[in-house]
């Protein structure tokens, strides 16, 4: 609420983004701006984006309108240019050269629309020798070394289930766009910004890849994996719990006390002989196995200690902190009906964000948007008949 009592509009009211990207990084990146008020128009080929077959598309592509447009068709490209005249931002994630082939490269678009921000989300950095490598997530993991960085129970590379290259890029895309819009406030001009999936990976290396003349400093790399892995325990019901050694809030009891074990400080633990330490750790593991997971989580938290049940993704909706912040939302999808999804994940207290609707059906807003550009019914029928929209 403002002091005059009026409720503030969403922060990005009046910002229009054309999202031509498919896949994950572009749509999920743009989602964070859509749910803070940007008017996002998803541009996809007639029949819908290929990425729609992925279940996650229903989340990544919500809170926006959909216009189907064949950009490879001259009339489609012309309509896209018209839309650019009404937009602040274009986001694309094609293989290099694709937009140029359609006459929609960033240079010609920015020449015609100097205030336009053009955001490219390629797999590999433009101008690098990697450009020709296909843009599959796991290829970026392989080439960037990520598969050798998360240690497991064996030596050798590990396939990462978490698509961290795309996820890193998805987190950087809103920053890239907003930085360029803030710069535009000063310069009056848009620009090209690029977030490659490789840069998405690099954003994760902050704790680990730091080389200096005095040596290389990082979190230790061990088999089996280190201290945080060691605080994962199996419980009586076969569920798993993570009880890190730090955090919480002014604990009233210790982990050992909750488990009914004698107190052993870190210093004492490290002073033990390897055999004694193994014995203590084994007794600790046994103690965890005497309790049910949910019960232990409850008891640790009541003592001011941190603990989380290690859950599959669909069980995360029960988390009390997600419930309390309104981050679990019902979204009525036009194809599968009511769904439970994760809501807004960044919070602006003065201008709260919100989910603004499900993933639209392909082309659900084609007429509405093209009519707003001044195209009439006869023209739209002709475009439709020719497969342009």
């Amino acid at each position: 609420m403002r002091e005059d009592g009026a409720v503030a509009g969403p922060a990005l009211d009046g910002v229009r983004i054309l999202d031509v990207s498919g896949g994950l990084a572009g749509p999920l990146g743009v989602l964070q701006l859509a749910e803070h008020g940007a008017d996002v128009i998803k541009i996809e080929p007639p029949g819908g984006s290929r990425a729609r077959h992925s279940p996650g598309s229903r989340v990544y592509n919500r809170s926006r309108r959909s216009v189907t447009l064949d950009l490879s068709h001259a009339d489609g490209a012309r309509l896209f240019r018209e839309l650019c005249g009404t937009a602040d931002v274009v986001v694309e994630a094609f293989a290099p050269g694709t937009m140029a082939r359609w006459g929609l490269d960033d240079e010609s678009l920015r020449e015609e629309f100097p205030r336009l921000v053009y955001c490219a989300v390629p797999a590999w950095p433009s101008g690098s020798r990697f450009e020709g490598i296909p843009g599959y997530e796991a290829l970026v993991h392989a080439r960037s070394g990520q598969q050798w960085e998360t240690t497991s129970f064996r030596n050798g590379p590990v396939f990462l289930h978490n698509p961290v290259a795309s996820m890193g890029a998805a987190m950087l895309v809103p920053i890239a766009i907003m930085s360029a819009l803030v710069a535009r406030d000063r310069t009056g001009r848009g620009q090209r910004v690029e977030v490659s999936l490789l840069q998405g990976v690099l954003s994760l290396t902050t704790q680990n890849w730091n080389w200096t003349d005095r040596g290389q400093f990082q979190l230790p790399k061990t088999h089996p994996p280190g201290v945080h892995q060691g605080s994962i325990h199996e419980c009586a019901d076969g569920e798993w719990i993570h009880v890190p050694a730090s955090g919480g809030t002014a604990p009233s009891r210790s982990v050992a006390s909750v488990l009914g074990l004698e107190e052993v400080s870190f210093d004492q633990l490290f002073a033990m002989s390897p055999a004694d330490r193994d014995d203590y750790v084994a007794r600790q593991r046994e103690a965890f196995k005497r309790h049910e997971c949910a019960d232990l989580v409850e008891r640790f938290r009541a003592a001011g200690l941190n603990a989380e049940a290690i859950v599959p993704p669909h069980e995360r909706f029960d988390h009390p902190q997600l419930r309390a912040s309104g981050s679990v939302v019902e979204v009525v999808d036009p194809e599968v009906g009511p769904t439970t999804q994760i809501g807004v994940t960044i919070f602006l207290e003065g201008t709260p964000g919100e989910v603004r609707g499900p993933q639209p059906m392909p082309g659900a807003h084609t007429d509405e948007v093209l009519r707003s550009l001044g195209h009439d019914g006869a023209e739209l029928a002709d475009l439709r008949a020719r497969g342009v929209v």
Binding site: T150, M171, L204, H242, V331
Partner: protein, 404 residues
């Protein structure tokens, strides 16, 4: 042209990782970031030189005792000159110190104030601090990477996926708020958390009205892939990541592997068939890939348009950070640190055509810019010395105690 956030001043009261990484990105974007550090040093300076540098470059640093009335006064004078305040203290801590949102708003009415949390400021765990594994556990990451469904224990990702998921989105929140402030003149309070940020990683998971979870790709027990055709395979001299995910990749793959017989094998006729017979197909392909070197497979597969890459061990990032082309493209940062010499880390995470950022300013020593910043606030040399004598501020001397 100057960088995107030229002229924006940030005061960073955070410590450790999930806070300070955000202001570091703001510094990369050209903001003037002042790290306000306890006189005893950020808790990370001791044993975690690498992670500390990974979250602090590009900042100036004033070492200040916020619990001293004069220290608090100086901090608020600094806030009065700032656009953004950022930190990762637990709920209520900043208020108790006198640098909470209300305290900062009193001296800078349009301040953009960001607090990153473990769990967010509402709910039964609002006052809990936390660490990365809690977010990885709660989001489903550890369960799926185990994979627990295949009988393995959960696996924690060593790369702090939870930490970065709080820090990076906090910058998005601030830039959205900055854009809004530029239009309305209004500041506001924003927040992000490890828990909420980590939800982005598994955002694709939803539940239907009847309680059925959305289908998800599953990792195999060997932690090598999501499918026989989207998987790591061992070769005679290393590992190859195969991504033969399109239907037209299948016959081409069979020919390269000299297994043309599989093309007409009814078990593998369609994509659905190949997924259904994942284990059999995986065993056949694993056997075939052991017949040659990874480089030979990659060359042969590329020549027929089947995506594949060698899985590279970078030896702790060395082959990436010393890659001339990535250096040329600005993806590697290089700067000199007074104690550590030449430093290399990741560079630009975003490439700007017109207003590039930079990472030329080193990670600061504790209190490295104390005098400079106090001078900017209008204090003369005598006053600055008096502050130090009273224990309000410090700066590095001959007895500098930290490794970074």
């Amino acid at each position: 042209m100057p960088p995107p956030l030229e002229g924006i001043r940030v005061v960073d009261f955070g410590q450790y990782l999930a806070g300070p990484f955000g202001p570091m990105l703001l510094a990369d974007l050209g903001a003037d970031v002042v790290k306000v550090e306890p006189t005893r040093g950020d808790g990370m300076r001791g044993g975690f030189i690498g992670p500390f540098m990974g979250c602090q470059r590009g900042k100036r640093d004033i070492a200040l005792d916020l619990k001293h009335p004069e220290g608090l006064r100086v901090a608020l004078e600094l806030v009065a000159t700032a656009d953004i305040v950022h930190h990762n203290m637990t709920l209520g801590t900043a208020d108790r110190l006198g640098i909470g949102y209300e305290g900062c708003k009193a001296v800078r009415p349009d301040i953009l104030y960001c607090n990153t949390y473990m769990y967010g400021p509402v709910g039964p765990l609002a006052s809990f601090g936390g660490v990365d594994p809690l977010a990885q556990a709660a989001a489903g990451l550890e369960w799926e990477q185990g994979p627990v469904a295949e009988g393995n224990p959960p696996l924690w990702y060593r790369y702090g996926h939870g930490d970065v998921a709080a820090a990076i989105p906090s910058v998005s929140a601030l830039l959205i708020a900055l854009y809004h402030r530029n239009r309305t003149g209004e500041g506001q309070l924003v927040w992000a958390s490890l828990l909420h940020g980590a939800m982005l990683y598994t955002a694709d998971s939803w539940i239907a009205a009847d309680g059925t979870p959305s289908p998800r790709p599953t990792l195999d027990r060997e932690q090598l892939g999501l499918d026989a055709l989207y998987r790591l395979y061992e070769t005679q001299d290393g590992w190859l990541q195969l991504a033969a995910v399109r239907d037209d990749h299948w016959p081409a793959l069979c020919r390269v592997l000299h297994r043309e017989d599989l093309v007409d094998d009814a078990r593998f006729a369609t994509g659905a068939d190949r997924r259904q017979h994942r284990a059999e197909l995986t065993a056949l392909l694993a056997d075939a890939f052991m017949g040659d070197l990874a480089t030979n497979w990659r060359r042969a597969l590329r020549s027929v348009g089947v995506p594949a890459e060698i899985s590279v061990d970078t030896w702790d990032g060395e082959t990436v950070l010393f890659d001339d082309e990535l250096v040329r493209l600005g993806l590697v940062a290089r700067y000199d640190h007074p104690l550590l010499g030449r430093v290399r880390q990741f560079g630009n995470l975003i490439t700007f055509s017109d207003t590039p950022g930079s990472q030329e300013r080193a990670t600061p020593l504790c209190g490295q810019h104390t005098q400079e910043i106090l001078h900017e606030l209008g204090y003369d040399a005598a006053a600055i010395e008096a502050f130090r004598d009273d224990g309000v501020v410090t700066w590095p001397g001959d007895d500098y105690a930290f490794g970074v």
